[in-house]
Amino acid sequence: MTLAIRALEQRKDLNEAVIDEFIENYDFPIVEDNAITFVFRGKVEEVRLQHWVYGLESAPELTRLGETDLWYLILDLPAKSRIEYKFDIVTNGKHEWVHDPFNPQVAHDPFGFNSVVHTPGYVTPDWTFFEAETRPGSIEDYQISSKVFGGERAISVYLPARFRATRRYPLLIVHDGMDYVRYAALHTVLDNLIHRLELSHMIVVFTQAVDRLEEYAADERHAEFIVEEVLPWVEKRYPIQPNPAQRGLMGASFGAVASLAAAWRYPGVFGRLMLQSGSFAFTDIGANPRGPAFEPVVRFMNAFRDKPGRPTNKIYMSCGIYESLIYENRSLLPMLQQTGMQVKYVEARDGHNWENWRDRLREGLSWLFPGPLWMVYE
């Protein structure tokens, strides 16, 4: 198969009108089997692709098509890949990162948004979208006072549809919880999975750190805050199951470190962990290459790897194959399995981003807190 950009390249009549027609005729980036053609158009000095795919050349340069103002780059990615990207354009010697103006597909995160492309086989899961038949749960916002950190902390509590104060519910505490709601559609996902009976009716607490890189980096105060302050606060106000098997912690990136660290410091309190793209940096020898923010994480992970104990019973771990953290996550897996805990580990051809974490929610949550799917027929 001749790629569209190659066919264009071969034309002898390349002029602005031909380029206009090309732009008009395709959706961008052009996905032809596993070949992705990124295209940028503009009078610039240089264009690079910022893609965050670990393992590929960093920021590869787009090629200018002849003397035109069209720039392109062809990347080969395996099926079911999903990547986020921006263009780094240089004008008058100045760099600027921009999203792909020809691609309406974007993914938001706390820093803004990126353009998105995927190869054949990837489909955005249907349970991430609003479903009219689904009974919605509700979210209540609170400020709780923290002696550990001093001052007030915002937390939000998700209550499932048809919540009953007379019934007891499993509890999940989610680090960066409101980010999960904003960028990983967690409210919608919880509603849908509960409605579909795949997930237990449960109470979910969303926490947000004031300084996540410090607090989530295995900070002892954070574990104390979760176990000694948040948990009793929730148990006092809501009907929570008293059994550790019905209590879980969840987080992504540094939030996964915070979850693991809290469970490790208070073994037996949380029977379920969902750890996504954990920043589980460690050193066998030499210095930590990831920078100062990781120093406390490395200290914790080295201690954990030395004596993991059995902090919990069931762990669902996921990581993107295109993340640099894939090495740390893969190496942690056999260690966790040796402790006797039940561990499920899943990889996806995706990066360190919220939609990757969103796409794993169904499998992870329904494994940790299975709903009555096989038993209820209303």
């Binding site: 795949e198 027929y377 209303e378």
Partner: protein, 309 residues
């Protein structure tokens, strides 16, 4: 006259009320919503439009009261339930291997000559049926032994409930059984000794309510978030029929456009008709024969789904 009317889910298309109103017999209708558990009494939507007296039998509530009053029985019952769950787990493991073989062979027919592989698939399927029969028998024996040993509705804390229910049912020519949690519903019906009295009534049942009335309760979902999605025989039902497997929410729960799965399902339960019960569905039994009335489809052994009404 129909003695048994089975319906699909009632949330979006409430059809039981019309059927009940059209019945010529007079008298109140007993309502069983135990499958809804703690929401048992929230039946306004279900009974809206019914132009006769309805009496909710409150089976879930009564059982909870009973468990609280008779802790010796409650503990024995928990132990019994635990044993049933363990048996189900073991059956599930055995089934996963036995049925996987059928799926693997059926999904790769091109690998072997037809005259070689088809007979082997039939044999593999016969092993699945045998396992289902074995499990059902085991569960039934366990259940009967427990009820015989403990005689729940003869125990003081339940005796009065049982008598009151029997008396109420005596006055009701019809019983409406809503869906919900199939195990809870079945369990409450048995615990309170309603298997016998219900047989004498015209029964209108939706979703799980229809499932518990059969000879065997079949649990099903083709695409669960975990596992291969193999239908499971659960427990013996109340045995009001043995020639039909009701499939509520079939459009959501089954891959009806997958001929392999449809065919294996239909052939596995070949002694009965596997009928979908989606929104608006209704099938009546009249003089021992089933009459599809609305939105009823049958899973066929050739992998197709036939519209019956």
């Amino acid at each position: 006259m129909s003695d048994l009317l089975l319906f699909g889910p009632q949330r979006f298309q409430s059809t039981i009320g019309d059927a009940l109103n059209a019945m010529e017999v007079e008298g109140p209708c007993a309502v069983i919503t135990a499958g809804w558990q703690e929401r048992e009494m929230e039946m306004d939507e279900l009974v809206a439009g019914i132009d006769r007296e309805v009496i909710n039998l409150r089976l879930h509530h009564r059982a909870e009261e009973f468990f609280e009053a008779d802790t010796i029985f409650r503990d024995a019952h928990r132990g019994h339930q635990q044993r049933m769950r363990q048996l189900q787990e073991i059956y599930r493991i055995r089934l996963s291997h036995t049925l996987a073989c059928v799926h693997q062979l059926t999904g790769n027919l091109d690998n072997w000559p037809e005259d070689v592989v088809l007979a082997e698939i039939e044999d593999a399927l016969a092993m699945v049926r045998e396992l289902d029969r074995h499990h059902l028998g085991h569960m039934r024996n366990l259940q009967e032994a427990f009820l015989e040993e403990w005689q729940p509705y003869a125990r003081p804390a339940l005796k009065e409930h049982h008598l009151e229910l029997t008396d109420t049912l005596y006055r009701c020519p019809a019983v409406l059984i809503a869906g919900g949690h199939v195990a809870v519903l079945l369990n409450r019906l048995r615990l309170l000794g309603l298997e016998g009295p219900i047989r004498e009534k015209t029964v209108l049942a939706s979703s799980a309510g229809a499932m518990v009335l059969g000879e065997q309760v079949v649990l099903f979902h083709d695409s669960p978030p975990q596992g291969p999605g193999y239908a499971e025989v659960f427990e013996a039902g109340l045995g009001l029929f043995d020639d039909l497997v009701p499939l509520p929410h079939a459009r959501n729960r089954l891959l009806l456009d997958n001929p392999t799965r449809v065919s294996i399902f239909a052939r596995r339960f070949e002694a009965a008709s596997c009928l979908t019960l989606d929104d608006g569905a209704r099938v009546d039994r009249v003089d021992g024969r089933w009459h599809p009335r609305q939105n009823i489809h049958r899973l066929k052994s050739d992998g197709t789904v036939e519209e019956l009404a």
